[in-house]
């Protein structure tokens, strides 16, 4: 991976400076949700009948479902009829075929975000599938990936170009009926990313998608599908930021990963969406379903996440360990400051024999932040020799925040070995005085101590991502000290 991704990383780091609204003409669906809106989305994308049918099945199922209430977060009710479910940026000149032809407004916005696509293509080794308001506007490095046989494109494009692959794997990990938010996504998803790595291929570069929520009151419903065939390897980075806004915005994405025999998928997220202001107004509601399936023997899926943004975070990236000897990993840093709330963790479902999973969760609460770890380790009957190790650490800054842990363990095979370790600590006055006695001011000491606490997770991230994640923590903690 090249060293000049710093520009891209800008968007996940430093002060929350992305609070601008670009003046792109939006092509939006009417407010609210009904079958016609679902049909409109499908028609806009020229989708085949089977996909429309799938969306409608999801929509009809969704009507029978209720929003979950078990999570440890509180928010005003969401009016699902007050959301615009589709909006696409309209290019001022039709059909830009290369980066040079991309809408200058759009490119200005990317420049503000620190992603100059032109520069990206020239300088970086990362292929960026930039998503603005649900439609991919530019995809780079296709040629190089194509040479390796890797397919990396927008989801909509994949539906047109590789319908057989999409049809085979869509919903195979997260079925349309999975949960309230995933089902909603299945009905109305607009775009996202698709990646297919063929048998035996090691993807020649780290893949990266940057999501950005833009048009006012537009819920964003991304759909990502990554398939690694036998012996394939792919590493995928997702980073996010959104403009500042007063109204809460719903985000309900679905990510599905499929790893066949001996394949490996690494999926890393740095999430820095608008967290709301210091009083808890505004901010993104992030209800995400992410799941991987180790379908093949000896396959491996790793989730690494650094969650510092959003008013509400609700996500449990999990792994279904179906293949014998498969491995699932979850490394997480979740920070809640001000009035942010996070209910996050993972699910490790052991089905195959000798399957192994590792969970390492670091929760940091500051201000009035509430941070909940919720994890499920399930060992099914056939999963002889299954092993899990879970470590859940919480760090508290101040006295008005909270840390909560809900570990669920279900073991149906007597040979399984499941371990759970948990700790809660506070940045102590003694630690701070020690740092200050050595000349380090409190506002520098706190981020240093917090970064130390997160180090085991950061070392799972690609290096530049880790550097950016450290800076991000420092920025997110500003104003929470003292």
């Amino acid at each position: 991976m090249s060293t000049d991704n710093a520009k891209i990383r800008e968007l996940s780091g430093r002060a929350y400076k992305y609070g601008f609204v670009s003046d792109l003409e939006s092509d939006a669906a009417p407010r609210g949700l009904n079958e016609d809106v679902v049909r409109l989305i499908s028609a806009k994308k020229h989708e085949p009948q089977w996909l429309l049918d799938w969306r409608l099945k999801a929509y009809r199922h969704w009507l029978t479902m209720r929003e979950p209430t078990w999570q440890n977060v509180h928010y005003a009710p969401i009016d699902y009829q007050d959301i615009i479910y589709y909006s696409a940026p309209k290019p001022k000149t039709p059909g830009p075929r290369s980066l040079d032809e991309v809408d200058p407004e759009l490119r200005t916005m990317f420049a503000k975000l620190g992603i100059s696509l032109a520069e990206q293509e020239r300088l970086t080794g990362v292929a960026v599938d930039a998503v603005v308001d649900s439609v991919s506007v530019a995809t780079t490095f296709k040629r190089k990936l194509a040479e390796a046989g890797v397919i990396f494109c927008s989801f909509a494009e994949a539906v047109q170009q590789h319908p057989e692959l999409v049809r085979k794997y869509l919903g195979s990990v997260v079925p349309y009926s999975d949960n309230f938010f995933a089902t909603l996504n299945s009905a109305v998803f607009s775009d996202g990313s698709f990646c297919y790595v063929p048998k035996g291929v090691r993807c020649p570069m780290e893949l990266s998608t940057y999501f950005r929520i833009n048009a006012a009151d537009t819920g964003q419903f991304e759909r990502t599908l990554i398939v690694a065939e036998q012996g394939a390897y792919v590493s995928y980075l997702e980073g996010c930021t959104a403009p500042m806004r007063d109204n809460n915005q719903l985000h309900a994405a679905v990510v599905e990963l499929v790893a066949l025999d001996d394949a490996q998928i690494k999926y890393a997220t740095v999430q820095n969406w608008y967290p709301g202001d210091a009083e808890g107004r505004g901010g993104i509601f992030n209800f995400v379903t992410k799941r991987g399936k180790c379908a093949g023997r000896g396959s491996k899926i790793s989730w690494t996440q650094v969650e510092t943004g959003s008013a509400i975070t609700w996500k449990y990236p999990g792994v279904i360990l179906q293949g014998d000897d498969s491995v699932g990993e979850f490394y997480s840093v979740a920070l809640t400051a001000n009035h942010q709330q996070a209910d996050t963790g993972t699910k490790m479902i052991h089905i195959g024999r000798n399957t192994r999973s590792t969970i390492l969760s670091k929760g940091i609460s500051a201000g009035h932040g509430q941070n909940t770890y919720r994890g499920l380790v399930k060992v099914q009957k056939a999963a002889s020799g299954a092993r899990n190790h879970t470590q859940c650490d919480s760090l508290l800054l101040g006295s008005q925040c909270g840390a909560h842990t809900f570990p669920y363990v279900e073991v149906k095979n007597p040979s399984a070995r499941v371990e759970h370790e948990a700790s809660t600590s506070k940045i102590g006055d003694e630690q701070l005085f020690y740092c200050r006695q050595r000349g380090i001011r409190e506002e520098d000491a706190v981020p240093m101590i917090v970064n130390g606490f997160c180090r085991e997770v950061f070392k799972e991230l690609p290096m530049e991502f880790a550097v950016e994640a450290q800076k991000l923590l420092g920025v997110s903690l500003e104003g929470c000290i003292g």
């Binding site: 630690q431 200050r436 006695q437 050595r438 001011r441 130390g452 180090r455 085991e456």
Partner: protein, 253 residues
């Protein structure tokens, strides 16, 4: 260099220092001895700027009013405290911490930051001076260090930060005789005409290795006797019993 007059300190309404007066000149080595609960460690903490204490009285350091300065500014002014109980900071590398500290001090003094290469060269040189195990450099700050390793690490930090006044709070406690000898040798190597040392100790044995110019005895929040190094020997023979025993000073000096 340091002039203290009628220094009082209390924590949660409980008075621990009850009027300390002391003068320390450049290049001098002072030892403060006394029984548990006499206020020795509190004096060290108060001089270093621990905000947990309510402090009154006068303390001037190189002409500056010390009590007005926050802890980090005292560090920048050259005051270093080798802690009795050095803290652990998990995940923060020992050398990373020390470079951050050195550069924070340099920044406050208006000096340029030391880059990683120059710092590493400095660290390697000073590591030898204090006979520090290089393996400890790559570990997190004090995490999993033995008691003796922590104390030696404090002296290593002192060797890097080069303070003008170093306060060593019970640096000898928890050290076996070999470790004590080698830590004392490191401290002696750092003695200079510009640097003052304030040794806080329970026992006289440290003073066999780091010979003080002055010895003060603290009891019940006051300095009750001052003398030269012979006073320490005398104390070792007779104990602290004939000094005003701390009736209400409480535990945890």
């Amino acid at each position: 260099m340091l002039e203290i007059e009628d220094l009082h300190a209390s924590v949660e309404g409980h008075e621990i220092l009850r009027g300390i007066s002391l003068r320390i000149g450049a290049g001098e080595v002072h030892a403060i001895m006394g029984p548990n609960g006499s206020g020795k460690s509190t004096l060290a903490q108060v001089l270093a700027g621990n905000p947990s204490y309510q402090v009154s009285g006068v303390a001037r350091y190189q002409g500056k009013d010390l009590l007005d300065l926050p802890a980090e500014a005292r560090a920048a002014a050259g005051i270093f405290l080798a802690f009795q109980y050095p803290v652990e900071i998990p995940g923060v590398g020992n050398l990373y911490f020390l470079r951050t500290a050195l550069n924070a001090i340099r920044q406050q003094r208006g000096l340029e930051e030391l880059d990683a290469m120059d710092f590493l060269a400095l660290a390697k040189e000073r590591m030898q001076l204090v006979e520090m195990d290089p393996e400890l450099m790559n570990r997190a700050l004090n995490e999993g260090f033995s008691g003796g390793e922590k104390k030696r690490n404090e002296i290593f930090q002192m060797a890097i930060l080069q303070p003008s006044l170093a306060i060593l709070d019970e640096t000898d406690s928890g050290l076996d005789i070999d470790a004590l000898r080698s830590v004392a040798a490191a401290v002696n190597a750092l003695r200079s005409a510009e640097r003052a040392l304030l040794l806080i100790t329970h026992y006289q044995r440290l003073l066999d290795y780091i010979v003080p110019d002055y010895v003060h005895v603290m009891a019940n929040g006051r300095i009750v006797q001052s003398g030269d190094k012979d006073l320490a020997v005398e104390l070792e023979r007779h104990g602290y019993a004939h000094f005003d025993a701390p009736a209400a000073a409480g535990e945890g000096s």
